[in-house]
């Protein structure tokens, strides 16, 4: 009974956090993009335009939900939900603080990757069900991209697992009490961030929704709340990737003076900021360049990195 109550409570907290977090992240994205382009961004609604995204979300709630002609209604309805729900699951194992983790599983890292691997099924379903050639192209690209970039993502985090000797995220954080792993594994960190960018369909890897070629990619036909859910899931995905990067490489909740969760959130939002900064700096890759980059650069590099890590660990043990 107690356990059930705990699960329901944490689910409510997570959903509330996800909604507020994505509103804030959209605001941050607008501000960052505006400042990079020498604009000002949202200014008037709320404190520095902080409520602007809230107003936009309200507007989105009032929009009509449309079923396109000849679409696959069941899949079309399910797709946004399927792309959003797995992201919530990933919150289960993120160690926000020393004891601030919903369920500290011993396969935590694998669970995050399993859930995040599910979310592109929703995207592909959206592309398929919309009965629109642009959506279908976007969905197919998304599948190709996610399959390719899942491998370097896993391989680069394998280094960390080898060093911490555990899949449990809180153990990994504990192993970084003195030295964050980014100093020991800079190459793995870069590979991880790059593939996480690709996994969450962010520029420069946003070919599934490339607006200059595919209108809006897989969510071309979506409107109103369903479009909003895709949006929220994308931003939550970015946040989850940053959280995992924080836990794996940046020392998680370790830091002087402030309490653990404050350090964790600060580091996570810094990674989110870097992700946005990359988005507004780099142009989009071509689809073939993208796949080439994954298979010819990232995967060999991460394999090389694993061999080096294994050698170093063995030599240090003796």
């Amino acid at each position: 009974m107690n356990e059930l109550f705990r699960i329901i409570l944490s689910l409510v907290i997570v959903i509330g956090f996800v909604l507020i977090n994505s509103l804030v992240l959209v605001w941050l994205e607008r501000k960052v993009s505006a400042r990079i382009q020498l604009r000002r961004g949202p200014l008037y609604v709320g404190w520095f335009g902080l409520l602007q995204t809230f107003a936009d979300a309200l507007k989105m709630l009032g929009k009509e939900l449309i079923f396109p002609k000849n679409c696959d209604k069941v899949l079309y309805f399910l797709a946004p939900i399927l792309s959003f729900a797995p992201v919530l699951g990933a919150f289960l194992v993120i160690p926000f603080g020393q004891h601030l983790v919903i369920q500290d599983l011993n396969i935590g890292l694998l669970l995050v990757f399993a859930f995040s691997g599910l979310s592109f099924i929703g995207i592909f379903m959206a592309g398929w069900a919309s009965n629109n050639k642009y959506s279908l192209l976007g969905g197919m690209r998304s599948v190709a991209q996610n399959i390719s970039y899942e491998i370097p993502l896993l391989l680069s985090s394998l280094n960390i697992v080898m060093m911490a000797k555990s899949f449990r995220l809180s153990d990994i954080v504990r192993a970084q009490a003195h030295v964050p792993f980014i100093l020991l594994q800079p190459l793995a960190f870069i590979i991880f961030i790059t593939s996480a960018l690709a996994e969450s369909n962010r520029t420069p890897f946003d070919i599934p929704e490339a607006e200059s070629e595919l209108v809006a990619g897989f969510h071309t036909e979506y409107s109103g709340l369903r479009f909003g859910i895709f949006f929220i899931s994308e931003y939550t995905y970015v946040f989850i990737s940053s959280c995992v990067a924080t836990a794996l490489f940046l020392g998680g909740s370790h830091g002087p003076f402030l309490s653990g969760w404050a350090w964790f959130l600060m580091k996570a939002y810094f990674v989110v900021f870097v992700v946005m900064w990359v988005r507004w700096t780099l142009p989009r890759l071509r689809s073939d360049q993208l796949i080439t980059f994954a298979w010819k650069v990232l995967i060999p590099l991460s394999l090389f990195n694993i061999i080096c890590t294994a050698l170093a660990l063995q030599l240090l043990k003796q």
Partner: protein
């Protein structure tokens, strides 16, 4: 070998680009928050045409020669005049239809007394076409009313 140099140059160019955008992030924005902050217009800004107020008399300088009416390519100036007792023309009405005016400045150049100029005003939207027909004499009439009170 070119494979490795490729990776390094690619990574280096990404870093260089990121540094450029980071520098831009701390520059002052170039946009104005327009309705709240208004910029003074440039000295040669060509706003809507209007009468020059003469510094000496405080009146307009128009002598009703109708040169501007004749030269206007858009036919947007309507002028009415009457001959006064001193055998001189007096301006009764001078209206310009801004829905037609192309701001070509021909009327300003042709005027023998330099009575016309471009105003610096740039907020002249209107809700109907009739509001866009501007009566040039209106400010002068109002001024007369305030300066010469009607005798009882």
């Amino acid at each position: 070998m070119s494979y490795i140099t490729n990776i390094f140059t690619g990574f280096w160019s990404v870093l260089a680009g990121m540094v450029v955008t980071l520098k831009y992030m701390f520059r002052k924005p170039v946009t104005e928050v327009y309705p709240r902050v208004k910029k003074p217009m440039f000295p040669r800004f060509k706003g809507p045409t209007s009468f020059v107020v003469d510094e000496k008399t405080g009146d307009h300088r128009c002598i009703s020669c109708e040169l501007c009416v004749k030269i206007c390519p858009s036919l947007c100036i309507t002028l009415e005049k009457e001959r006064g007792e001193d055998k001189k023309f007096h301006l009764k009405e001078y209206k310009v239809d801004y829905t037609l005016c192309s701001l070509c400045s021909l009327c300003i150049e042709v005027c023998p007394t330099d009575a016309l100029t471009h105003a610096k005003d740039y907020e002249i939207p209107a809700l109907s076409q009739s509001e866009m027909i501007n009566d040039f004499l209106k400010p002068f009439r109002e001024k007369q009313k305030t300066s010469q009170p009607v005798a009882p």
